[in-house]
């Protein structure tokens, strides 16, 4: 839609995409030295240790869960989907920013994506890994999860293809596969750089193995560019389809609060919103800690804040429309659902959600706020919490009081619910710490293409 020359020039003439002083050599040095040369900072060990301990909590929670059964969690009739499903939606939503940045912004020729795509893709992959665990363990007998796939068997078991839950199996597994391939293919030229620069034999062998014999010939690059664009094309519909299908999990049912036609775009916008909040939450400290301000400039931060504002407004529109139509439908169950959200036993979650997701991001209209890293970082935390609350409101308050008052009930997550959630946070951050330590967190070869040196006179 927008050509880079046209769209970027008028608005941001003062703020360049990256530090103008960088050259081919300094880009490669700066990024690869984090992995190869610099001493691993103490803070890295501390951060990794904390994450790893929490990760062990997850292992404990899962072990216990598999031995005892999901009675360990707070889920029961009527609230049979608790914070496990909400965590699934939350994690998978976070992943969407990565795919949007890497695929859609690539196709739209937005150069500013280059500094953050590698990192955002890693975040996507790790978040999807967390998300995928929840529905599998929610099955109760996770060792039978393969029954979800349509395969010929003697039991006469065949999936119900009219159920969005079934579509989810394919949507999420496709998403995980394509994201992993996209990430790995993007890494190949950088693996080769690391192979060539590594000093020790084991690292040379490991990086060399992953580099798959990359020599950087013109033919390699030609094929590579083609493959990368094709993967971007494949990943683009996934940004929309995955969360659309997640929204169908709810909307295809007839529970008031779930059955709403606005859910698909509203969920997709919410996913991108949460994802950008997470990218900001991670990049703001990282760029400072590793001195990457020249690569991830204020320009990136501004753009991410703007995407957050825009998607936050769509989510806000969703709340307004839901509340209005709850009333307009004239249906007493719909009306009660909205009343119950605002005044029922979980009202505090609803109002906290309004505060976090609608009111807080309005500060992003102000340029001064978008330029203040600390404020922006705090807003990104608030939004992440807000998006978690949003899923709580959708999943729990819709289920706990549906039609007959005699079948109403309350839901309380148990310590094991929380252990699992905190544990997946630990797993996520463990993976991120390993990624930062062993792989280039910014794409070296793509950064080189946007340097002034890379411009070719025809």
């Amino acid at each position: 839609m927008a050509d880079e020359h046209q769209s970027d020039a008028p608005h941001h003439t003062t703020v360049p995409v990256i530090d103008p002083g960088l050259t081919f050599a300094s880009v490669t040095d700066k990024i690869s030295s984090i992995v190869l040369k610099r001493k691993t900072p103490l803070a890295w060990f501390i951060g990794f240790a904390i994450s790893f301990i929490l990760f062990q909590l997850m292992m404990l929670a899962i072990t216990n869960l598999v031995f005892v059964g999901i009675g360990l969690w707070g889920v029961n009739v009527p609230v049979a989907w608790g914070i496990d499903i909400l965590n699934f939606v939350w994690w998978i939503g976070i992943g969407h920013a990565g795919t949007l940045i890497s695929a859609i912004l690539l196709l739209l020729r937005q150069q500013w994506r280059t500094s953050i795509n590698r990192f955002a893709e890693a975040m996507t992959l790790f978040a999807v890994a967390q998300a995928g665990m929840y529905p599998i363990f929610h099955l109760g007998r996770p060792w039978l999860a393969y029954w979800l796939f349509p395969y010929p068997n003697t039991m006469g078991v065949w999936p119900q293809f009219r159920s969005p839950l079934m579509w989810d199996v394919f949507a999420v597994s496709t998403y995980a596969t394509v994201s992993a391939m996209f990430w790995f293919v993007g890494l190949i030229p950088d693996f080769a750089t690391l192979r060539d620069r590594a000093q020790s034999k084991p690292f040379q062998i490991i990086y060399g193995w992953f580099a798959m014999g990359w020599r950087g010939s013109a033919r390699h690059w030609h094929r590579y560019e083609m493959a990368y664009l094709l993967l971007a094309g494949l990943a683009t519909p996934l940004v929309l389809s995955v969360h659309t299908i997640v929204s169908f999990d709810f909307a295809a049912g007839i529970i008031p609060g779930w059955h709403a036609t606005i859910f698909p775009p509203y969920f997709v916008a919410g996913a991108i919103y949460a994802g950008f909040a997470m990218v900001l939450f991670l990049t703001i400290p990282l760029r400072k800690f590793y001195g990457l301000e020249g690569f991830i400039t204020m320009r990136h931060v501004h753009n991410m804040a703007k995407v957050m504002l825009a998607t936050g407004l769509i989510v806000g529109y969703g709340y307004v429309v839901e509340a209005f139509f709850g009333w307009y439908s004239g249906n007493k169950y719909e009306r009660y659902m909205i009343w119950n959200r605002m005044h029922g036993p979980y009202a505090v979650y609803y109002w906290a959600l309004i505060l976090c997701n609608i009111i807080t991001p309005q500060f992003l209209w102000i340029k001064k706020v978008r330029s203040n890293l600390l404020l922006l970082w705090l807003i990104s935390i608030v939004v992440s919490i807000g998006m978690w609350l949003e899923r709580f409101v959708i999943v729990v308050t819709s289920l706990h009081r549906d039609f007959l008052p005699s079948s109403w009930g309350m839901y309380q997550p148990t310590q094991w619910d929380w252990a699992m959630f905190v544990g997946t946070l630990g797993f996520f951050f463990s993976l991120l710490f390993l990624f930062i330590r062993f792989l280039p967190m910014i794409s070296i070869f793509e950064m080189r293409t946007i340097l002034p040196e890379a411009e070719v006179e025809e």
Binding site: A2, P10, F248, P264
Partner: protein, 406 residues
Amino acid sequence: MIDTAYTAPQEVARLQRAALIVGIVGLLALGAGAFFEPLQFWRSYLVGYLLWAGIAIGALALLMLQHLTGGGWGLVIRRVLEAATRTLPLMLVLFIPILLGAHSIYSWTNAEVIAAHPALQEKVRYLNLTFFSVRAVIVFAIWLLLAFFLNRWSRQQDLTGDRALAKKMRVLSGPGMVLFVFTVTVAAIDWVMSLDPEWSSTIFGLLFVAAWSLSALAFSIALTAWLTKREPMAHVVAALHFHDLGKLLLALVMLWAYFSYSQFLIIWSGNLPEEIRWYLPRTHGTWGVIALVVVILHFALPFLFLLSRRFKRDPHKLVLVAVLILIMRYVDLLWVVAPNFPGTGFHLSWMDLVAPIGFGGVWLAAFSRQLRSRPLMPLNDPQLPSVLEQAHEHHESEDFIEEASA
């Protein structure tokens, strides 16, 4: 030599005259129809009105979008969009008959109908003629104000070249977009959804945001392709602009289809009596065939063509898809609106043909008049030099390729 004043070609004046004659004849014929078949008259009036009002309203969204994103594609259609938004006062005038005829169009204005339907009694506080009129006034006031300022500042930019004006327009467009989405939602609920007052769908507002933006873009592409055959625009608009416009058209076609299909799938899957009743008459009999035609010609065919790069870069081909989409916008509106009118089952009238032509003629005449009143390009936009340079380089390289291949 390039005409630096960018005055509209003579053909626009000719279009204005011809359109005015067609429009007046069409609307007079439609008006005559009111005496024979009043109910059919209102149905045709509403659909014809919504088609052309949708272009004017959607143009406002695209205008704000191009202020927010920048880019050559926005600059080359900006004057077309601005002229379209300046027809909004005319659309306000043409809305007055709908207010006057509301009793014949909207069943919720009828006290007996409300008394017979308990569900409707629940929402009389929203669905009553006074509040309906107040909302229409507010919605139009917001659109007119946005259009007024964006047009005024753009004009000032032509005259003074003040660089602060580009920023002013951009700053207004952000909150303007938010207002736009909410006002279109209100308009979609009031003017269209309330035709079946017991039915509701939460995505309906967004569906109209996408549909009206799509109408406006299809119209802008068709008109720009027509203008590009002539000076001065022949030297300004290049294949790369049509390429970008084609991509945006593809995106909006997909967005519209995504919203429409989501609404259908969720309602079909829930199969609740109060919801599925909207789709049942629309998916059976002749309306069902039309639904299929909409799926194929409003989505599948444009989608396939717009995937091709060569297709998007050729204005002669792109214009075909744009016109097809405009025609299908009308068919889709008819499919959405008409089954709500009594006289169940499928029927078409000569008025269904005369109404869009009549409204189209009057609207095009007003549009052409507005388009002629200003230069066809924003003279002092900060982006203009780079866009012209690009177009110039582009034309040269195209000539070069043509010479080489010849």
